[in-house]
């Protein structure tokens, strides 16, 4: 069966360090992979999208990599700040536009000052 795993439920790092979150999937061939941020009691907010033929995407302090051979995406936040503390969700989308997103459970990041 299709499976998406975000390798840790919680990640604690110090301010200024780089946070690296992992998303692994099996039995799936996504056309796109997306990362969302979710604060407690709020809806997810879109951060970055990467296509299957892209290796890396950057946006300000955020970087996403996508390895379709390893079936893995890494999400990096450089120079992390306490305001980056939130749950980060990985989501996969199949090839056809307009299809549902399949989400992982999320990784809760805590950045301490």
């Amino acid at each position: 069966s299709q499976k998406i795993e975000q390798n840790s439920e919680a990640l604690n790092i110090q301010e200024g360090k780089t946070a690296t979150l992992t998303c692994n999937y099996t039995n799936y061939s996504p056309a796109y992979l997306q990362w969302y941020r979710q604060d407690p009691g709020r809806g997810p907010v879109f951060l970055l999208l990467i296509r299957e033929n892209e290796k890396e995407k950057r946006k300000e302090r955020l970087k996403v990599t996508f390895d379709t051979t390893l079936k893995q995406s890494l999400f990096h936040i450089t120079a992390s700040q306490p305001a980056d503390s939130a749950t980060y969700l990985c989501a996969l989308e199949r090839r056809q536009a307009g299809t549902a997103l399949i989400f992982g459970k999320g990784t809760t990041l805590s950045v301490s000052s």
Binding site: Y36, G43, L49, L89, G98, I102, F103, G106
Partner: protein, 115 residues
């Protein structure tokens, strides 16, 4: 420009009752999806509406039904509520004709508690 809005914010029901949740999509969006998010879990896809019809459905029982109106707003109905239906219900909108991936814009959610 208003984003996705949902009502009500919170709702408390008892087992066996029925509930209706409402969603207005972001301006310019024509597709609405509903997700259920249990505590500590990622959102799970319930169904998606486009042109007032259900386009896709996730692995949810028939107790979950929906509707999309001509103005693209949508309702989620859940009948015969169970304790396990307690969750945050998220509405997300997008434009089906987008060339980019199907980035979803989420509303703040409705917190449903079933007692």
């Amino acid at each position: 420009d208003a984003g996705v809005t949902q009502s009500p914010t919170h709702l408390i029901k008892t087992r066996g009752q029925q509930v209706t949740l409402r969603c207005s999509p972001k301006s310019g969006h024509d597709t609405v999806s509903w997700y259920q998010q249990a505590l500590g879990q990622g959102p799970q896809f319930i169904f998606q509406y486009y042109e007032e019809e259900e386009r896709q459905r996730g692995n949810f029982p028939d107790r979950f039904s929906g509707h999309q109106f001509p103005n693209y707003s949508s309702e989620l109905n859940v009948n015969a509520l169970l304790l396990g239906d307690s969750a945050l219900y998220l509405c997300a909108s997008t434009q089906v004709a987008r060339l980019e991936g199907d980035t979803q814009y989420f509303g703040p959610g409705t917190r449903l508690t079933v007692l």
